[in-house]
Amino acid sequence: MDEVVEILPDLLEQTGIMLQIVGLGMLFGGAGGLVVGTALYVTRRGGILAQPVVWWLLNTLVNVFRPIPFIIFIAALQPLARVVVGKGIGTDAAIFAIALAATFGIARIVEQNLVALDPGVIEAARAMGAGPWRIIRTVVLPEALGPLILGFTFAVIAVVDMSAVAGLVGGEGLGNWAITYGYRQYNPVVTWSALAVIVVIVQLIQVLGNTLARKVLRR
């Protein structure tokens, strides 16, 4: 018990850093994924803004980058991180890599949920004289909101997973802490308390996502 009390300040600090990494990673990655995923959906053949060339470029980009294991991705992205966030190492560099990886992952999740939309409602909106941007704003996204919330919930948990690798580029957070002070220094209390906190956070996110989605879907 004493040991836990002893590590508590670190645990709290590292939890805060992890939440920051996940929060910012999701903020940028979520926005990026929403934009890219929606773009994939509307530019595909037969879409409301059909643009075969744009679609092909986006699709190829996502296909190439999404399957890269994150631990390699974050390392390979260091030079680009240096350009964008000013430093190739540290928490910010990790957030940058996570945001980018999340963009590709979330783009597919968004696209899949939008493709499942009933084309009839899009047709109805077109028949009423709505333009493509209005349709995206008032039909496509609101109609897919429930599944999108569930998709984003799934993505947050994937981002929590990614955040554990931040240490590779000198980023902090619970994952890095558990490996550096728990695993490498044979301190199971550190490892287990990090694990417990992560499990609780993931559960909370899942419950929140499910509740929101149920509310939106009215079931």
Partner: protein, 359 residues
Amino acid sequence: MPHISLVDVTKTFPARRRGERPVTAVDGVTLDVERGQVYGIIGYSGAGKSTLVRLVNGLEPVTSGSVLVDGVDITTLRPRELRRVRQGIGMVFQRFNLLRSRTVARNVAYPLEVARVPRAQRQAKVAELLEFVGLTEHADAYPEQLSGGQQQRVGIARALAADPSILLADEATSALDPETTEEVLSLLGRVNSELGVTIVVITHEMEVVTRIAHRVAVMEAGRVVEEGPTYDVFTAPRTETAKRFVRTVVRALPEGEELAALRARHEGRLLTISFTDEAASQARVFGALARAGVDFHLVHGGVDDIQGRVYGLLTIAVDGDDAAIRDALAQVGPGVTVTEATAEPAEPAGPAEGGERDG
């Protein structure tokens, strides 16, 4: 000037995959829909009805030909102008296509938002339309909380929100049971008669056409094979397709096994009398036969109401002298057609042939 005019319109979809052929869904269609008319388009699945109606509001661009709405060729409009035209054309769908993320009231408000109508006016208009379709108390319900018929009424209210002068209904009743179909059809009838909206109804059900359409076009393989006032097409179908549709509503001439069974049961000749409302003809035929001392009785058929006009197709078994029968039928006059019921395509049985059908 016709309200909607299609001039030699063709729509060909490119082959979806290599090796497949392009599909010509609409093939050289020319037709006019007058202002205030209910125009029916009937045809079997794949005939090109939905494609045709989607050309009218430009949801699908034509391959060739022109589509005139209020005299304006919409095939030459730019996207922005086309969207304006669409605001003046309501559309109702087989599967309603309501927005599940919106309440009934907000679904109906959607076209008003598109037309940038201010909020207060929007609310007033929505209330008025919900009243018109009888759904005022369901304003705050979500679509899935309503029955199919109620959802379609929301669809109709929504289609009417922007005060369109044209309503396109693509199989608007096909997903509904007979009773609800009746309810929706009578609502469409009111939209036409009370609001003066020109309606194009697409259907594969002849009842829908006879119930509300003033004029009808029969489609087959992308072409209009028969067209005219509903009553005329119904009482005197020329094409096999039109005849088959008519048969779904009227008990048609007995054929095949049914005819054989009738023959086995009745002596003498079997004559089919078709009559229109031009004359009180059924009584005249029966009267003439009775006066000639010919013995007869009714074995098959019925009388229908098309747009408030009468149409009957009755088969009688007659027993008597051929000359007497011929003389009796000769007296009947126009509006009545008598055909001998044979296994072959029916042949005229007497001089009474004529009137409506030839004219």
